[in-house]
């Protein structure tokens, strides 16, 4: 048998039909659904008299629109948001979606945090969702990617997706990460190197010692931003870390099925002599804590650097950087660590898991946020929130001056009331620094949870390593 990559293996195991022109039907094991990209798809089913083919493989949860303030239990005030969430409630009922986590269920949260947490996401699966950050689930060695609403309708109706196979790209992070450097710094640094279109047409497999050493939470952070690198999906081969995380989750296999699953999962790796269309290698030791300075996730630099000049770029990027610096209100040559901020946002499907909250709390313990700053923590799910409260993290955040919110997408895309005002500058643990992403005129700097916590304390972008002694938070 010819050697295969992990992507090849998952693809082959899900190929339901291949047409003469090479167009393939890929079978979908898990379809995650949220309120923003699904109403038109359900409406399409109604208009054509179609049903949901596999309700048992469909998981739905409202996350994008939901308020994260405590008063949401009384209902959503914004009428449009309310209608969208109510539409999902109704569609779940009408189409028999039994795996539905409604807004006030403690298990509710960001769809990409709920899926893994509940054991819906398992190695070797195909996972899709009408959301580009579906790439997150690739951390389990599953083929996971975002789709449009027409494709949501297609999967609801047929449990398949029309696909052409992508190319294989390997991103290897060798060696060990230095203290203060996290999964977020890895994924941003990769995008900084390859650009936001570097992965277009590829599925990326992340490998190497630095990736192997990451927890599942860290691996999810890395894969989550594969889409910002342009890739269809990001993958990490499953190993003991994966199996330990999955075991015992509500929807993970049990008993004899667990043993059977494990046997197959252990075959899910890229063969030694598999073919790669593109290979990127980065030394873990060379990665520093980074921040973004512009309006594209590829605009990344170590925190010790300076705002670049547009002329140091080439092609269309020169005009792009000029536009970005104007939008961001930054001057070439300015020290990144002197950029003052107004807001700190810790949360999102990139960094809203328990490990992220622990990392931020470790920096914040016994400290206060800078006077006048607005800072909020939005846990990725109700269960992450509950665990953080049990571990005492919530008290650390509240004592420091952070708002402690309910779960949702929140200020990552600002569809709910959590938004930036024009000109307001935010240190954010989310995934996109696009113009207007967090609110019209809002300025976003992406970074790790520890870096965001450090920025909250000083009121400016800050090298978290200066707040650490011997590699631990001081």
């Amino acid at each position: 048998m010819s050697p295969k990559t992990l992507y090849d293996k998952i693809w082959d195991a899900h190929l339901a039909h291949e047409g003469e022109d090479g167009t393939c039907l890929l079978y979908i094991d898990r379809h995650l659904v949220h309120e923003v990209t699904s109403p038109q798809a359900f409406e399409g089913l109604r208009m054509t008299g179609r049903t949901v083919r596999a309700p048992d493989k469909t998981i739905a949860v409202p996350d994008h629109n939901v308020p994260t303030t405590a008063d949401r239990t009384a209902g959503i005030k914004n009428p449009e948001s309310r209608i969208q969430v109510e539409a999902l409630d109704k569609n779940a009922r009408d189409f028999g979606l039994i795996n539905y986590y409604e807004m006030n269920d403690v298990r509710q949260g960001i769809v990409h945090i709920v899926g893994p947490e509940q054991g819906w996401t398992l190695p070797g699966m195909t996972v899709v969702c009408g959301d580009s950050h579906t790439a997150t689930h690739g951390a389990f060695g599953s083929l996971a990617h975002g789709i449009g609403t027409s494709e949501v309708e297609h999967v609801l109706a047929t449990q398949t997706l029309i696909q052409k196979k992508s190319k294989n790209m390997k991103v290897e992070i060798t060696g060990k990460l230095a203290p203060g450097v996290t999964a977020k710094d890895i994924t941003l640094s990769v995008i900084g190197k390859t650009g936001t279109a570097g992965g277009t047409g590829y599925v990326i497999e992340y490998c190497g010692e630095a990736i192997r050493s990451l927890s599942m939470e860290g691996r999810m952070t890395v894969c989550n931003m594969a889409i910002e690198g342009g890739a269809r999906a990001g993958l990490i081969a499953p190993d003991e870390t994966t199996f330990d995380y999955v075991k015992g989750r509500p929807h993970a296999p049990k008993g004899a099925q667990w043993e059977a699953a494990l046997t197959w999962w252990k075959t899910l790796y890229s063969d030694d002599d598999a073919h790669w269309d593109k290979v990127i290698t980065i030394r873990g030791e060379d990665i520093a804590p980074v921040v973004t300075w512009g309006t594209s996730p590829e605009d990344v630099l170590p925190i010790t650097e300076y705002v670049p000049t547009p002329e140091s770029f080439t092609g269309g990027k020169v005009a792009g950087v000029r536009r970005a610096l104007d939008y961001m209100g930054l001057t070439p040559g300015q020290k990144l660590s002197e950029i003052e901020i107004d807001t700190v946002f810790i949360g999102s499907c990139t960094n809203g898991r328990i490990e992220d909250l622990r990392a931020a709390a470790a920096i914040l313990k016994g400290k206060k946020i800078k006077d006048g700053l607005r800072a909020m923590v939005v846990p990725g799910s109700g269960l992450v929130r509950a665990q953080a409260e049990e571990e005492g993290l919530a008290d650390i955040f509240k004592d420091a001056g952070f708002e402690w919110r309910l779960a949702g997408c929140s200020m990552c895309l600002a569809m709910n009331p959590d938004q930036l005002a024009p000109g307001e500058r935010c240190a954010a643990t989310s995934n996109r620094n696009f113009e207007g992403r967090q609110g019209r005129g809002g300025r976003t700097h992406l970074m790790s949870p520890a870096m965001a916590a450090a920025a909250a304390v000083t009121g400016r972008l800050t090298d978290v390593r200066k707040m650490m002694t011997d590699g631990v938070a001081a």
């Binding site: 094991d29 038109q40 449009e80 789709i147 449990q159 052409k164 342009g230 696009f434 113009e435």
Partner: protein
């Protein structure tokens, strides 16, 4: 879906790289539960000021380009969010074709589901068409999907590649769910075999 027919229309230049779907249609317009009516909000933050007045400099606000049917743009067009609201807004505005050196994956796929043709051409050819588009309302280009050609206002012809299945669906206005459902037997068979092989799924 309407059939994609050969047409001649005004091309609008948008010489920006990495145009993301947040730019094409900002999040506040994602609260709709319909597909229609988004054209007025296309490129909202570039198109309107804080008081909802049109910004005259923005290309689609200029008289020459108000009826544009083609958009010529920079590389990696449509990156970011998977929101199909982006092609819905583009279509609703009246644009039927985009020309760029490259697109983000999900956006590219979403276009075809909505009767929009995203043409990929090398940067130097896009540059020529960009200059052509900058001529204003006289810059009428002809898009012929059947022949896989786009012709500039001065008669220069550029050939482009497109996936044969996507081309077929676009030309015939086909609903691909219907096409897939014709393969129900293959899906049933796959599902039954997979349930045996991986019963935990």
């Amino acid at each position: 879906m309407d059939k994609f027919e050969t047409f001649t229309g005004v091309a609008a230049p948008l010489p920006i790289i990495n145009v993301d779907t947040d730019m094409i249609i900002p999040k506040q317009f994602l609260k709709t539960i319909k597909r229609s009516g988004l054209g007025v909000s296309l490129f909202d933050e570039m198109r309107y000021d804080d008081d909802r007045n049109e910004i005259p400099d923005f290309v689609l606000n200029q008289p020459a380009y108000r009826e544009a049917e083609i958009l010529v743009a920079g590389e990696n067009f449509g990156c970011g969010s998977s929101r199909e609201h982006a092609p819905w807004a583009i279509k609703d505005f009246g644009l039927k074709c985009i020309v760029a050196p490259s697109y983000a994956d999900i956006f590219y796929s979403n276009c075809f589901k909505n009767g929009i043709l995203p043409i990929v051409l090398p940067q130097e050819q896009v540059d020529i068409l960009m200059q052509d588009a900058e001529k204003g309302a006289n810059a009428r280009m002809t898009v012929d999907l059947e022949a896989q050609q786009i012709t500039s206002s001065d008669g220069q012809v550029f050939s482009f590649e497109v996936d044969s299945f996507k081309k077929h669906c676009l030309l015939n206005g086909l609903d691909d769910i219907g096409l897939t459902m014709e393969k129900a037997a293959a899906i049933d068979a796959f599902e039954a075999a997979a349930a045996q092989a991986r019963p935990w799924v």
